[in-house]
């Protein structure tokens, strides 16, 4: 009898109320101190001298060049990663082949390697003293300290996001629907557009959002290959650093606020997509149990 009472009152299965409150408070304080406070400070610092000065930061053509370059790097690297990510996820989720685990490890490499090292590798390979340096300079192609290097470095660090998002999803969904489409006479292309893509579209969007956020925010790898040529090879994060080092605080924080807003938009989008995916799952569960 006494055992029953203990179970129903829940004492054995959860912490005391004061412990719970303490843990929640600690977690919230931590978040406020290390996430919310810096975010707020970015905007307060940027607006410290009023709107006029804030907007003046954007009169600088170098700022606009940095924004354009950041967008360019994202516009090139995100679609490429989308294609590579889908191809890699498909190969891994659908087929068994030798070296599959090696491929998985390679996809994870950009997560494991420090971005600075990634940048240095590109310098080593494509730089003037690098393996292909002579050949490239003979043909008048500039990779390092130029836009191609920045795009390459961005590609490297953003590679895993789409594939990593899709592999578990495609493995969970299995290949039966695709096989069904083929047996029903669909071509490989029809199968992809009509069956595979609609099934993975939310996961794919999620991967693209994360990949885009990383592409626009990347500092380390891009910094190594950029050469910091103002108006030419500075992305927005690099531009922020340059401005800050020149004690141009307002302009630095103004540019940082653009990146921060970008992060907020990404977060909102990410939350929406997550909610959408969750809603789909719950909807189908509810209806299945009816």
């Amino acid at each position: 009898m006494s055992a029953n009472n203990r179970i129903s009152s829940g004492i054995t299965t959860t912490e005391a109320p004061w412990v719970r409150k303490l843990l929640i408070t600690v977690a919230l304080l931590w978040l406020a101190l290390f996430l919310l406070l810096p975010l707020v400070s970015v905007f307060t610092e940027a607006l410290r001298k009023g709107w006029e000065t804030y907007l003046a930061a954007f009169d600088d053509p170098n700022t606009w060049a940095a924004i354009r370059l950041t967008l360019l790097a994202a516009v090139i690297s995100v679609p490429l990663n989308l294609v590579f990510g889908v191809a890699a996820a498909w190969a891994i989720a659908r087929f068994d082949f030798h070296g599959k685990s090696l491929l998985l490890t390679l996809i994870d490499l950009p997560f494991a390697v420090s971005p600075v090292i990634a940048g240095l590798i590109y310098v080593l390979v494509f730089g003037l003293q690098g393996w292909f340096g002579e050949w490239l300079s003979d043909h008048d192609i500039k990779v390092i300290f130029a836009v191609p290097g920045i795009v390459l470095a961005t590609l490297f660090v953003t590679f895993p996001f789409v594939a990593r998002e899709l592999i578990p999803l495609m493995q969970a969904q299995g290949k039966e629907e695709e096989e069904a489409a083929i047996v029903l006479g669909a071509s490989a292309w029809q199968m992809f557009w009509r069956v595979t893509l609609p099934n993975i579209k939310w996961g794919l969007l999620y991967g693209v959002i994360l990949s885009n956020a990383r592409a626009m925010g990347e500092f380390g790898a891009v910094s190594v290959v950029s050469g910091h040529i103002r108006g030419l090879t500075n992305t927005l994060p690099l531009h922020v650093e340059v401005l800050y080092n020149e004690y141009n605080h307002v302009a630095a924080f103004a540019c940082a606020s653009v990146l921060a807003m970008l992060a907020l938009v990404t977060l909102a989008l990410k939350t929406f997509v997550e909610w959408k995916v969750q809603q789909n799952i719950e909807l189908s569960r509810e209806q299945a149990s009816e």
Binding site: E176, V183, V195
Partner: protein, 360 residues
């Protein structure tokens, strides 16, 4: 002959899924591939469909070699074990898929597609679900939609992979009869895979029993049940009691009983395995000439019209299962713990070489 399979073998790494399998499926028949999991039945079905290619051997459809024909051109209808309905399409679009993906010149007009899809949905009695999505359907409904979708492309043969495997017991029984009726209406050559012997016995015109990548026996349900060709088939189809026996001059000795086995008239004190179905075991209070062993009644279960007894042999630890009709049980008045005699009414004997094969 609709489908002919000639000497097909399939190897997955070290595992031999199919070992020189040959088999004919006559036009218009419903054939079951029956066997335990891992016996190669699903591999064989996928090879017929063209989703796998055999390492050796050939598959003929209506006399034409289709071994290397692309899946898309084989004109097979395939129903997947877990239905594989397109989850983001309505029921209507699922059924219409096979028609919509056709090249422009063979694709029917929109009105014709609508007519055909509704005709099929009516056939599976689910026209009212046309606008729903697969997650909104019950398992049985999904299975019938999957069948309608497979039939939409007017397949030459219909292939079903464990069609009732994922369903509740009572839904499964209903669907089984429904599939049989549908087949009698359409007369499309069909092959289905199952591990459930009851399902195969009830639905199929012909059963192919498979084990370890080989065909053990092909026959009608009655042949398979009454004249099993091998110890494996005997054990796999229905419950069975196994006795170690000796056969001499046309008689098998089981315990104290001697039963006639005409096919082994020339056996000389040969060791053998004797199989007796539970419903072929007679129970008596007092021994007579046919009695084999004295047993003690362990458990008595009443399952619908039959009473199943678990009997413990007094000389060995083995358990014998017997099935009595309710009337016979009432007549005998046996209770748990009673001591009674069993006598096999009929027996199927496999000589020792079969036993060695069984053990291998």
């Amino acid at each position: 002959m609709s489908i002919e399979i000639r000497n097909v073998s399939k190897q997955f790494g070290d595992f031999r899924a199919l070992d020189n399998v040959s088999l004919d499926v006559p036009t218009g028949e419903l054939v079951a591939l029956l066997g335990p999991s891992g016996c190669g039945k699903t591999s064989l079905l996928r090879i017929i469909a063209g989703m796998e290619t055999p390492n050796s051997g050939s598959v003929y459809f209506y006399g034409e070699d289709t071994t290397h024909t692309d899946v898309r051109e084989r004109q097979v209808g395939f129903v997947f074990q877990h239905y594989a309905l397109f989850r983001h399409m309505t029921v209507f679009e699922n059924v219409a898929f096979g028609l919509r993906v056709r090249p422009k010149k063979t694709r029917p007009a929109e009105a014709e597609i609508r007519r055909r899809v509704h005709e099929l949905l009516n056939l599976v009695q689910l026209d009212w679900l046309a606008d729903r999505y697969p997650p909104q359907l019950s398992g049985g409904q999904r299975q019938r939609i999957a069948l309608a979708r497979a039939l939409a492309v007017e397949p030459k043969v219909l292939l079903l992979d464990e069609p009732f495997g994922a369903l509740d017991a009572n839904v499964r029984k209903d669907l089984r009869r429904w599939l049989r009726r549908l087949h009698d209406e359409l007369h499309i050559t069909s092959v289905f895979v199952t591990h459930d012997q009851e399902e195969a016995l009830e639905v199929a015109d012909r059963i192919v029993v498979m084990n370890k990548g080989k065909v053990e026996q092909i026959g009608t349900p009655a042949q398979i049940y009454d004249e099993p060709a091998s110890p494996f088939v005997y054990q796999f189809i229905g419950n069975v009691n196994l006795f170690h026996s000796r056969v001499h001059a046309g008689f098998a000795r089981i315990g104290a009983a001697e039963l006639p086995v005409d096919e082994h008239a020339h056996a000389n004190e040969a060791a053998a395995l004797a199989y007796v179905r539970p419903h072929d075991i007679e129970i008596q209070r007092e021994p007579d000439g046919n009695s084999a062993f004295r047993v003690r009644v362990g458990h008595i279960h009443t399952i619908g019209p039959v009473v199943r007894l678990e009997l413990h042999r007094e000389d060995e630890s083995e358990i014998i299962e017997a099935e009595l009709s309710r009337e016979r049980h009432r007549e005998l008045q046996v209770q748990v713990g009673d001591s009674v005699w069993v006598s096999p009414r009929s027996v199927r004997v496999f000589l020792d070489e079969a036993r060695l094969e069984q053990a291998s």
